[in-house]
Structure formats: C-alpha cells, structure tokens
Symmetry: D2
C-alpha cells in the first residue's frame, strides 16, 4: 500500500521576513496531511470526532532540515508508527522533489472534549488505523 | 476621554517574504484591540459572550497605507462610531510613531451561536459602548 | 471564458473557538486564489515579481455573509474588474455549494520593493490581465 | 538572576474549533518570548541579524500538556540550556497561574541567509547568551 501523501503549495501567508516558510507553519501542513489521511479512513472532521471526542497533538519531535520557499509544491506524508488505546504515533515528512525538508514524530491523543482526559480511540477509527498500519 | 489604544509588537510570525507584515494580520491586530477595549468595559471573552451569543465581524472597509516591518511597535486604536440594536461600527487605526499605516471601518454584529442570526446586543454591553461613545 | 476559481478545504488551523472560520483567514483564501489566477497567466510568484516589484493589497471592502466551518470545501473565485497603470481591482467570492459566504472588492497595487512606491505593472502581466478581462 | 518570561494573552485568532489554543500557535508564543529575551540582550530583530545571518529553529521536542483557552493570560519562559558555536538550546515553558501547559526543548541555529548554512553566532550575541547562562 502506498504511503499517504498530501500536496501542499506554499503561499505568501506561509512565509516570513526571512524569505522562507515560517517554522510553525510546517505543523499546519502536517495536520492537513493527517486530516486528509484520517478522512480517507472514513472520518470527516478528525479534530472533532463524534461523541464529544477530540484528537489533539500530545507531543512531537520535529527537525527543520531545509527551508521551503514561496511557490514550492510540497509533499506531506503521514505514516502510522504505533497505535495504543488512546493515542497514535505518526511519522510525517515534508519534502520537495524527493528531498526531505522537515521530519516529525507526532503523538496524537484522543481526549474527551469536556475534561480533555485521555479516552479510548473509537473502535471504527482504531480498526481503520490498524488496518492501514498492517498493510504497509 | 482618551481614545482606546493597544500596543502591538511585530514578530516574525506576522511578516511575509515581502519583508513586511502580511496584510491579513492587521485584522488580527485590530481584533486584539477591540477585544481589549470590550474587556475594559467588563466583558471578558468578547468573541464568545454569555448566553450563546457571538460578536462576529460583519463587514469591513480597510486601507493598507504603509507597511509595518519586523520589530515595529504599533499602536492599534479602537473608537465606537455607531451603535445599533444588533451591531456596532468601529473605526480602527494601526499607527507607528503617530503615522497611520492601516485604517479600517469595522462593523461587528451580535449573533446567536446556533443559527448565526442577528441578535440584540446584551443590555450591559450596549450601555457600556454607548457610554464610551458619548464620552468622547 | 469561465471565471477562475480555486478549491479550498477548511482545516482546523482555519477555525476559531466560535466554531467557525476565523474572519481574517478568508483574506488568506482570497490571496491563494489570486495567486493561482496570476500564476496561470504565467507569473510564478506573484507576490515577489521580477525587478524588485511587489504586488500588495492596497485596500479592500469585504462582507462576511455566512460562516464556513471545519471540513467545508470552499470555492474561491477571482475576477478582474478594472486595470489601471499601477493597480488592479478584483472581485472575489468565497462560496460553498453555490452559496456565497464572503465577498470582497480587492485593490492590488504594484509597488517597488525598496520604497513601496506605486509602479507600473510589468507589461506582460498587464496584457495578460487585460486579455483575461476582455475575454469575459 | 530571574528567568526571562513574557506575558501572552490568548486571543480568538489563537484558538480553534476545539475551543482551545491551536497547537502550532504555542510555537509562535515561544518565538515571541525568545525574541524578547534576545532583544533584551541588545539584539533588535533577532530573526534577521546583521551581516546576512538568520536565527532559525533547527529542531524541537514539544509536549502539549494542558490546553490554554480564550482569554488566558499565559507566561512564556525562555532559558538558555546550552551554547555551541553555531547554535543555542533553550528550554521554554508556557504556563498559566504557575501550571505548565506546554514545554519544549528548542535548538536554534545561526545560518547565513544566502545558503542557509550553519555559521558562528556573532561574538556579541554569544557573549550575552553565555553571560545570561552563567548568571543563573
């Protein structure tokens, strides 16, 4: 099964006065890719799941390797690395013409909206993630 | 009564590859100033008022006159121009050392969160706005 | 000739605590559409043209009519309304399933990067804009 | 010597439809604090240093522990952890009323603007950072 990847174009809104993509914006690109990945698994609005659950970023390790610039056509990959009861770990890479520009390990937790406490990932989503994970 | 004004520092996040503040970010600066203005009137979280009401920007006319750049210390003023049953009109100016950089007429409407329909501004807020308006 | 239109998906980064798209973000969507429109005319990085020129938003009138929400697939149109020596006026509409959510008149000026002074639009871009304008 | 800390207010622009601060925005808050910290050391526009140098985020490890919400008054600390020839490591904590909400180890590299290659931190800045580091 092919790795999931989303194309992202760099617009002026994404850049800063250094002439490059503002570092925090790679996190936006990565969330767009995760969102499309999970949407493809049948979940429409991943960040606000049914039943008052939210998927929130718990932690991440990110390396900014090379700078993207205005007009770049980027590829933002998402791959499941680990699935636990209440969280998923992804590896994500932002690349340009095959060159990695930014790489991150992202841990996403499922929490309830009211108390923001860790909660089991809904069964359907969990199975979809596992299936995708096994297929690789 | 002195016009309300908020100080805003320009950070790298606010700029773009043109080396200037990205135009949409002046709208953020203006909303910060409106928020502090309304907070000063006794409303803590203006965008999400009590009773399921929201204050939303209905329309605006904005002139981008000169560019702000990284490190600038800006002054963002808010002045009530008109108060109606379900909306308020503000004039807002972003300036640097007394020079106007950006000027806008902003119409903010009060709507209910469920249907986003125009709703009367809560009496307390309305009176505070009118009082401030008359004092000038 | 068909009007130019760009598809834009609403991600969590675009929303705010009101549960809707943050108003300033419609300006980003509109600039993405203008960028793709001008790129289609043969200009790769519209915001930083050759010869030290920049295209900057001079002024706009914008109406926020209905709110877009997380997951929406929006259409953002760009149409040339007027071309002058150093500026262009666009009409832009953000719509969802044919319903207009946000509409703006946007005046974009060509300036030199050093002094930010109004400068004639490069002949090639001007002709392309006029051609597109006449074709409608 | 007291740890450097910047106050940051949460505005509607910082939140998302989950009702909390959008995760990537904590990186903006942290950069604001680093900027003010370095400005205090005598460097006006840290991200675009003299001599064509830039300070760029090289990598970071970040933990999102609890969510900040609209209207929160946050404290964003910056502390030097290590200084090397061409990079500095900071520990940064975003807290609310003494409770840590978000914590990061941030490695910031000095690069030349043209080739984005690692470059020695200017002597003056290096000495200021070391002095501040030793004082703690």
């Amino acid at each position: 099964m092919a790795e999931f990847s989303l194309s992202v174009k760099v617009y002026i809104e994404d850049t800063d006065a250094g002439g490059i993509v503002y570092h925090a914006n790679y996190l936006k690109f990565m969330e767009r890719s995760r969102t499309e990945f999970i949407t493809r698994l049948g979940y429409d609005k991943p960040a606000t799941l049914e039943n008052g659950l939210l998927l929130v970023v718990h932690s991440m390790r990110i390396d900014f390797q090379r700078a993207a610039v205005l007009g770049d056509e980027l590829s933002v990959s998402t791959e499941v690395r680990k699935i636990a009861r209440s969280y998923v770990e992804f590896e994500q890479i932002v690349s340009r013409s095959g060159d990695s520009l930014c790489r991150a390990d992202v841990k996403v937790a499922c929490v309830n909206r009211d108390g923001m406490k860790p909660t089991a990932i809904p069964v359907g989503l969990r199975e979809a993630l596992q299936s995708d994970h096994r297929d690789r």
